[in-house]
Symmetry: C2
Subunit: 256 residues, 2 copies
């Protein structure tokens, strides 16, 4: 194939080491356009900016490489990338490498994966990468071979329309990663509470805090794969219908 | 059943007429706790606030009624409602009535429906209501009978864990609504562009704009129901795995 165009974004912001590692890996494959937020947007999910104008600042330009920062969200980055920076669909969209896991239901809150789902909705082959390590000095090098293989595979075999990939990488040295597992999203919930404090003006405020509770650590889940040092690859889609409930509800609602 | 506790939220903000209409409808059923954002959060999806403290202001308290405003997002409202305002799970969570449709893929961007999915993830029976009319003086009265029936049904038959409802109501007078249709989420995409402008300081800025393109207006979709003056009820869930892709990917990735 001729040199592919790859759109790169993330939710940790344009200076995040995980983004820098991913850019470096993507430049081996072709022309790279980066559109990333100018500040962190973790937990911002699929938010878009509709009540204020968006800015797009070109930060760097080299052969086969352009980098933009924006005041927008990760999903805005995908829209700006396709419609302004490129004015065409890229061959591939990659988001990450996120500092921290986006396995299980965390995908619902994730800005990294929202960018991927946005790409998927816009009919672009899209992949999110996350490393199971929140620290700023996380080691992204051990994931290089796996990310490269998954990207090469996806460039050769674009994902069917309506499908994207959520890739989570265990935070262990390369020689401890056991391989790739294609799996489903594990289910669970956050057992949360609020840390209740009082400010110097005697007004209350709250910080969200909590722990993840797994209810579904089976061998076919991303949670299991990650815990057992596999790279977890979950194919995702954006039809959120609970298809199995349709007939049950039809029966219940027949009197409405 | 004894008097149920109903948590009410929205994404248009605490003063939105749609929220006021929903509160009024819910007070017929039991004890109502409102936790709503102090400003509009349309398009904020499943965003949560993790980088700044949350505030919760009690605005009004009457028998079986308490109302709070917060600086948080719709999803924060659900967490604050359950963990701070109530300190227990409500019997039902309702979100809306949104000013504008949340049918088809709009559900992905919606703060109204993100609150519902959050309730669902927290194992609360949860329903989102949206009226297909963006105006501030939309007529919510024609939806009263349908909302009341759906809420009564759901209080009597709580939704199975992991399922919630997305209810979209056509913007027509009551006598033109043809009934309720249980359906699936219609698929399509936004054909977007950016309105490109220059500010007085000669810097560029962009406004997102575009039209929805349907690729799936079949009779079993919410899009069809709404267009044909039915109340569209879509059961939803938060497992985003593309289950049918798992085996295909396993075949493709066997060399990785």
């Amino acid at each position: 194939m001729s040199k592919p165009t790859i759109l790169v974004t993330n939710d940790d912001g344009i200076y995040a080491p995980g983004l820098r590692a991913l850019i470096d890996m993507m430049r081996e494959f072709g022309r790279v356009i980066v559109v990333a937020p100018n500040k962190p947007h973790s937990g911002k999910s699929h938010a878009i900016t509709i009540d204020s104008p968006l800015r797009l600042f070109k930060q760097r330009e080299e052969e086969d490489y352009v980098e933009y920062a924006t005041n927008g969200t990760p999903v805005d980055c995908v829209k700006l990338g396709e419609k302004v920076a490129l004015d065409e669909k890229p061959d591939l969209l990659v988001s990450g490498i996120n500092h921290g896991s986006n396995a299980t239901v965390n995908v619902v809150y994730s800005g990294t994966m929202a960018a991927v789902i946005e790409g998927c909705m816009s009919r672009i082959s899209s992949i999110g990468f996350s490393l199971d390590d929140y620290s700023q000095d996380a080691d992204f090098e051990s994931s290089r071979k796996y990310i490269r293989d998954i990207v090469r595979n996806t460039l050769e075999n674009p994902l069917p329309e309506g499908n994207c990939l959520n890739v989570n990488i265990p935070a262990v040295p390369f020689n401890q990663i056991k391989g790739v597992r294609v799996c489903r999203q594990g289910l669970g919930y956050w057992d949360e509470r609020f840390d209740h404090r009082v400010d110097p003006r005697k007004r209350e405020y709250f910080w969200l805090t909590g722990e993840y509770v797994s209810i579904d650590g089976f061998e076919d889940t991303d949670e299991w794969a990650l815990k057992n040092n596999y790279v977890a690859v979950v194919p995702m889609q954006f039809d959120w219908t609970s298809h199995e409930m349709i007939d049950k509800l039809k029966a219940l609602n027949q009197d409405v």
